[in-house]
Structures are given as structure tokens and as C-alpha cells.
């Protein structure tokens, strides 16, 4: 598949602080790319560079084979942008704001009323005379989704879009993004790693100005596989006795702890259970733990 977005050796600093040192990655057309990194890692800066809102110090960014140039808007007509905290003109209604956005992206005048109606319905906002200053944070976020998708962009950039949504709104938003798979390329930055696990095809972890990993979730799990056996006991005393029996070096403070292992899980589980039964300790539950994105993230950024 062809890459819709390509970043090559991108560098950016603010004053003496180097934010991006050598950022290189590409996102395939139609895929959902999870963009993860610690606070201040440079995710928002990267997104603003893609949008031509910040100046590159070095490197090149292309969107649909067109080079992004600071202050020029040729590539932006292919992009929808949903910032973390969208700011609007409070004195406009949602329809008026979307009308302005539609005109700016070059949408045809005749197409706009129908498309706006569709988008407002899709994000569950009423089409009435209510002005945006009366909107709740969640409503503003939903309006952000509507404006970002209004012109059916080829690339959608979402900067921590779920942070202001309630659980139901978050689920609906993720479902909406997932439904765009194949037709719209999405870059999705978030701190909520569960969201990335749920919908992203590819995950990039930004660390110290570079993309430390850029893989599919399946490949990442294989690469960073660190299987663990989780044991749950009736009380803390039993858990502590078990920890002594199993020679666990870490201090146990809950009636539950995990044991990392290598090799076949069945063999390791059998060995642990035999040792516990020999000491007359019976666990309440024994579970295999899969490597989560959180484990991988912590491993990458440590």
C-alpha cells in the first residue's frame, strides 16, 4: 500500500530545547496510526508541522506526495484536524461555524447544507440557533469531530481527541474512527493506550525526539513479549507466604502478584502450582497476562 504521509529526518527545536531530533516515519493510506509518547515528547509539534503551522528546522514532510510548506495551505485541503481543546468563535452557531470551515476547505456551496446536516447528526449535535458559547466541553469536542470530517479529508489528524469525552462519547468516537478505516488515513495521538489498542493498525512511540518503535500491534507484542503469570490469593498473608515459597524478590503488598517467565507457559504454570501445593498454599486464581501496550510503552521510554 502507498504511504499518504511521510516524514523524513524531521528536526525541530524551540530555543535551546530540541523537541524532534530525527523523526522519520510514514503512514499508509487508509490505516489508523496510533501516535504515543510522554507529555512534551513532541506529538502536538509533529502534528502542527504536518499542518504547516510550525516551521521545520530540517527534514521534509509530504502529504499525498505534496511537500508541506510552512504558511502555505495546498496540502491542508487534504487534511482534517481535531485539536485536543478545539477553540471556536462563541458567537457563531455550530452550523455557521461548519459553513465557514466548509467554505475555507473549498467545498461546493450547494453541497454544504446537506453535508453539515449529516455531520451534525453523526456527532449528535442539534441543528438550531444555539451559539457555541453555550456548548459543554463534550459538545465542543463533538463539533470538533464534525468540522474535522466535514470535507471528507484524506488524512485526519486527531490530537488527544477523547480526553474531554465521557465513556459513552469516547466509545462512539472510537467507533466512528474505526468506521473510517480504509477510506481515511488517521493519525491518532492519545495518552489512553486502551484506545490505541482498540482501533489502531500501527503504533508509533515517540521518545527523545525519534520514533522509537513503529510497528503493528501484533508485531510489537511479539517483539516486546514478556509473558507473566498472575496469581491471586484469598488474603495478603497467603500472598506473602507464596512469594517466599516462590522466591519473589519484590515486596508483596497486595493479595495478588505477577511472575514473569520465559518458555512454555504450561510448564511454568505446572511448576509454580506444584511448589505452592507442596507448601500447602492454594491460589484463588491463576491467569496468563498478555503484554499490554502500556508494558511496551514503559519498556520503550524507560
Amino acid at each position: 500500500m502507498m504511504a499518504l504521509l511521510e516524514l523524513a529526518h524531521v528536526q525541530k527545536s524551540f530555543g535551546t530545547k530540541q523537541v524532534l531530533t530525527d523523526l522519520t516515519f510514514s503512514v499508509e493510506a487508509g490505516s489508523i496510526f496510533g501516535f504515543v509518547g510522554e507529555n512534551g515528547a513532541g506529538k502536538t509539534t509533529t502534528m502542527k508541522l504536518i499542518l504547516g503551522l510550525e516551521k521545520l528546522d530540517a527534514g521534509q514532510i509530504t502529504v499525498a506526495q505534496q511537500t508541506v510548506k510552512y504558511g502555505q495551505n495546498k496540502t491542508n485541503q487534504n487534511i482534517g484536524y481535531l485539536p485536543d481543546v478545539p477553540e471556536y468563535y462563541g458567537y457563531l452557531t455550530a452550523t455557521e461555524y461548519l459553513m465557514l470551515c466548509g467554505h475555507l476547505t473549498g467545498m461546493h456551496k450547494s453541497e454544504l447544507p446537506t453535508r453539515i446536516k449529516e455531520m451534525l447528526a453523526a456527532v449528535d449535535l442539534p441543528q438550531n440557533k444555539q451559539r457555541i458559547h453555550g456548548f459543554s466541553r463534550g459538545m465542543k469536542q463533538r463539533l470538533g469531530i464534525a468540522q474535522a470530517l466535514l470535507n471528507r479529508p484524506r488524512l485526519l489528524i486527531c490530537d488527544e481527541p477523547t480526553s474531554a469525552l465521557d465513556p459513552a462519547g469516547r466509545r462512539e468516537f472510537l467507533d466512528l474512527l474505526a468506521s473510517l478505516r480504509g477510506e481515511t488515513t488517521i493519525i491518532f495521538s492519545t495518552h489512553i493506550l486502551n484506545d490505541v489498542e482498540r482501533i489502531c493498525d500501527q503504533v508509533g512511540i515517540l521518545n527523545r525526539g525519534r520514533l522509537a518503535v513503529n510497528e503493528t500491534l501484533v508485531n510489537l507484542r511479539q517483539q516486546f513479549a514478556r509473558p507473566q503469570l498472575q496469581l491471586t490469593f484469598a488474603d495478603l498473608t497467603s500472598a506473602q507466604q507464596a512469594a517466599v515459597t516462590l522466591q519473589v524478590t519484590e515486596k508483596v503488598v497486595q493479595p495478588q502478584f505477577s511472575l514473569p517467565y520465559q518458555g512454555a507457559s504450561q510448564q511454568f504454570t505446572g511448576q509454580v502450582l506444584r511448589q505452592l501445593l507442596a507448601a500447602d498454599i492454594v491460589p484463588l486464581a491463576v491467569n496468563q497476562q498478555q503484554t499490554s501496550l502500556e508494558d511496551i510503552f514503559l519498556e520503550v521510554v524507560k
Partner: protein
Amino acid sequence: MKVMWYFTHKEILEAWRKHHLLIIGLIFMIFGIESPLIAKILPDILHSSFGSNLVINIPQPTSVDSWQQFYKNITQMGIYVLAIIFSGFMSQEVSQGTLVNLIAKGLPRFIVVLAKFLVAYLQWCGAILLAFVITWGYTAYYFPDNKSPQPLLGLVPLLIFGLFFTALLLLGSTLAVNNYFGFLFAAGSIIALTILNMWKSVQRWNPVALMTDNLRLVQGTEKLAHISPALMLTLGLTIVLVTLTIIIFNHKRL
């Protein structure tokens, strides 16, 4: 050009819905009514203030007094009222982050500057024309003399000065980190130009001449050609200031 219209339309809606037009309209309407009225009743006010014991000889007011009051009100108060209203028109957008989304959608930055300049200048013209028409009507009613034969001629430099003053406010507001800087920048520049006016050799070239020579133009004792160097320089400076604003705004982080 279409994009220019869409953003200008947004600016006009902003001026209307944030009640800027209403506030400006009311204030300048008061200026328009007050100027001839004050000229008319000033002798009575003075008589009643000093009482009947003191005999003072106050000449009968004329249309010149009315226009003098008008230009005093507009140049000493009116322009600063407008400056306060417009002072945050660029800095506010930047600090609130409202432009990010529109720029990201392809709105050229120079359009933002030009549309804001245009709408602010239209408000300037509207405000001054409103006050002018009211003053003109009342002046003709209260003082039916022929001492002010060229009322329109006095207005032309003031409208052109508005271009320069709006450009100053725009530049100040673009450089600004807060709303007050735009106002202080424009007011400070006018004060500096007024001080420069103390040198006779610069008077004909100084943009401030466009708001100091109005009464002589109204009376017909001065021709517009006399301040044509100031008119030309003001127009030139306006172009320079707007261009400078565009360059600075192009490099501004949003």
C-alpha cells in the same frame, strides 16, 4: 477572493454579535448630537455659571464652534474609544487559539490581516460618518450661517487618517502579548507624532495634520492641497504598516 469574503463576513458577524457596532453607534451618535448642542448652549452655561453680577462678553456661537466641538470630540475621544474596541482584535484571536483550526483548513494568514483591517476601517468610517451626519444636520438647524462652507472637505483627511490609525492598531495588536499593548502602541505612536508636530517643517508631512487642520478646511481658509504631502505619506505609511503586519503575522506561532 472568495476566502476573503468568507472571513470578512465572519468579522462583520463578530462586530455585530459582540455588540461592537451597537457600542460604537451609540457613542458616536452622542458625539454627533453633543457637538452642536454644546456649541449652542455654551454661552448660557457660562452665564449661569458666573451669575448676573459678572458681565462677560461672549460672542454668539456659530457653525464654526459646532464643527470645532465635533473635531475636538472625534480626535480627542472618539479615536481612543475605537482604539480600545479594536486593540485586541488580533492578539485575542492568537491567545484564544481560534485561528489555528481555520489556518489549518487553508485560510491564508494575509487574508486574516486584510479582513481584520478592512472591517475595523469600515467601522471607523461608519462611526465617523454617523457622528458627522448628525452634527451636520443639527449644525444646519442651530446655526444657519455660511461660516462653514466646506464641511465635507474637513472629513476627508479624517477618513484617510483612519486608514493609518487602523493599520497602527493592527500592527500593535499583532506584536502584542495582551490586549492593552495594541492600544498603547497606537496611542503612543500618535503622541509621538503630535510631539513631532512642534517642528514647523514636518507639519505638512505629519499624518497628525489630517486631524488638526480639519476646521480650517471646513471654513475654507485652507485648501486640501496644503496637506497633500501628509495625505500621501499617510497612505504610504498605511501600506507599509499593513505589509509589516502581514510579514510579522506570517511568522507568528499560533
